[in-house]
């Protein structure tokens, strides 16, 4: 049975990765999960300088999901290179850095710092809904997305994955813009902008008022968008949004995703990634699927 996939020439032992922002740089969850078993680890967003993030409360639960407005708190690229990357280097898994910034120059600075490192791929965060500058500002307009993708591709030494926002009218058009600018892959979906109000206090549940919705509640939206993106572009797609089980992951793969990420469900069950990996193999055995590639985009009417 073959579960190995290749995204832009980078080989992964299976298609299962961690969604940015839900797994740190793997340290905290390495107490629960053998990182060697994962196809890849996608890190929390890394910026050129430390970012302080938003005020609390930053998280709120919703029906079958959660809102977050962390605001990309992170120690910046220097600490990432000194502490986080050497940690990840101990494991046989593909390290994917998620890069965030306020300006194109901020992104390019981090991308250039990765040039001679063991980072396998770059995921460019143009879709975080919780920061006031940068991020989603580049991801909701196809010209802006084309432009930043082009700038980053010109400097990047590793394959570039553009992480797309679901908060757009036509996801296919956005995926096409990334592809036209030379992106090696796209990942989707980031969180869906939402809001929760505490009716007893008559206050917003989050200090930021709005936050990004994730968890099982968003899965049907994510599967639909992965399918639409797969119809629009030829580059590989990494699908995510509410994956809790192998069955969920297989839905994304059938919709057209070559890779999948577990996100918010890491918080609910720290072993989710491993259960998804084992469950995909069990599914392949049950249906006599020799190669995972036979499942990618294999949905039919």
């Amino acid at each position: 049975m073959n579960t190995t996939i290749k995204i832009a020439g980078i080989e992964m032992k299976n298609p299962v990765m961690t969604a940015s922002g839900t797994f740190g740089s793997g340290m905290e969850y390495s107490e629960f999960v053998d990182l060697n078993r994962l196809g890849g680890v996608i890190t929390k967003g890394v910026s050129n300088v430390p970012w302080v993030g938003n005020p609390t409360p930053r998280v709120a639960e919703t029906y079958g999901g959660m809102l977050n407005a962390i605001g990309l708190q992170n120690p910046g690229v220097d600490v990432f290179l000194e502490r986080d990357l050497p940690f990840l280097n101990q494991f046989h898994t593909v390290s994917v850095i998620n890069v965030c910034g306020k300006t194109v120059e901020d992104y390019v600075e981090v991308v250039e710092r990765m040039a001679d490192t063991s980072i396998g791929m770059l995921e460019i965060n143009v879709s975080c809904p919780n920061v006031k500058e940068g991020a989603i500002a580049f991801g909701q307009n196809k010209e802006a997305l084309y432009h930043i993708t082009k700038e980053i591709k010109a400097k990047a030494k590793q394959p570039v994955i553009m992480k797309l926002s679901p908060n757009v009218t036509d996801i296919g058009e956005m995926a096409k813009a990334a592809e036209a600018a030379g992106a090696d892959a796209v990942s989707l979906i980031n969180t869906i902008t939402g809001m929760k109000i505490d009716i007893h206090k008559r206050m917003f549940a989050l200090a930021n008022k709005t936050g990004g919705l994730s968890g099982p509640a968003i899965k049907p939206v994510a599967v639909r968008m992965v399918y639409q993106a797969a119809q629009a572009v030829k580059i590989p797609i990494i699908g995510m949004g509410g994956i809790a089980t192998a069955d969920d992951a297989i839905e994304f793969i059938l919709a057209g995703a070559s890779g999948v990420c577990v996100g918010a469900m890491n918080f609910v069950n720290p072993y989710t990634t491993i259960e998804v990996i084992d469950g995909i193999e069990a599914y392949m055995k049950k249906y006599n699927v020799a190669d995972i590639h036979d499942l990618i985009g294999a949905v039919h009417s």
Partner: protein, 264 residues
């Protein structure tokens, strides 16, 4: 930041409920059987996963008391929302899913041969019980309640003097814990504290005025409980060691902090 005690490996376990009862309106006293009890430190917490998957996230609950020898852990919590409402229905023999032990506890080693004042309010009282059991010096409790539903009073009395303040004046000093401390002229060498934020702010200020070291347990809305999501942060005086931005993680680096280190 918080270097109190060593952290033993965390795990997710399926455990059995030994017994549960309501000890005051909406305050539940739950005993579970778990090997986590063996390594639990006073001031640490565990997370309980609701069975209803519409309530997705684990609920952090402080450890009230442990019997380390026979794997028993006591959790005393208030019903606040859908998750804790579900927990309150658990009965003997029910199987529940927990994650623990989380966070760092109170610096028990700092109580050696000195007097420790356990200042707590409301649902901040439970973790002080194990702290008092483990303390290496004399213990005095100063605890605040809304009214005369004085849950855990008899338990605390086994480990030290208990001074009580009630908001409605129905028992002890009318007012808050600081009012009780001043009225009774209580002094101590170190303070451990847990309770609502206005109380913790007052404790921090009182400790500073008196020049007494104080260790306070904070809470915040959490998602992961293990330091990965950065949902539950608190502003700090110095840069934190995780993100280097004066924002420390309450779940992983706390929940107990030196009052001087956090800006509340």
């Amino acid at each position: 930041m918080s270097e109190f005690g060593q952290n033993t490996a965390k795990s997710k376990q399926e455990v059995f409920v030994i017994e549960q009862k309501e000890i005051a309106p909406d305050i539940f006293d739950l005993w579970i059987e778990t090997t986590m009890a063996q390594h639990a430190k006073a001031g640490q917490f565990i997370s309980i996963y609701p069975k209803d998957k519409s309530t997705l996230l684990p609920r952090p609950i402080s450890i009230c008391e442990v019997n380390r020898e026979n794997d028993r852990m006591r959790l005393v919590y208030r019903v606040q929302g859908a998750g804790t409402k579900e927990f309150s229905s658990y009965q003997k023999g029910d199987k529940i899913s927990i994650l623990g032990n989380l966070g760092n506890g109170f610096p028990i080693e700092k109580t050696k041969e000195i007097k420790v004042m356990m200042i707590a309010g409301g649902i901040g009282i439970p973790p002080m019980l194990q702290a008092a059991k483990d303390a290496l010096g004399e213990v005095i409790f100063v605890v605040g309640y809304r009214d005369s539903n004085l849950f855990l009073k008899e338990d605390m009395e086994r480990y030290g003097q208990v001074v009580i303040a009630t908001e409605d004046g129905s028992y002890g000093t009318k007012g808050n814990v600081i009012d009780a401390i001043r009225e009774q002229k209580i002094s101590a060498d170190v303070i451990f504290s847990c309770g609502p934020m206005p109380m913790l702010k007052a404790v921090k200020q009182y400790a500073q005025e008196q020049g007494i070291p104080a260790y306070i347990s904070l809470e915040e809305r959490m998602a992961c409980g293990v330091g990965a999501c950065l949902g539950c942060v608190c502003k700090t005086k110095e840069v934190d060691h995780h993100s280097y931005v004066h924002n420390t993680r309450i779940c992983a680096d706390g929940p107990v902090f030196d009052a001087k280190e956090v800006e509340i």
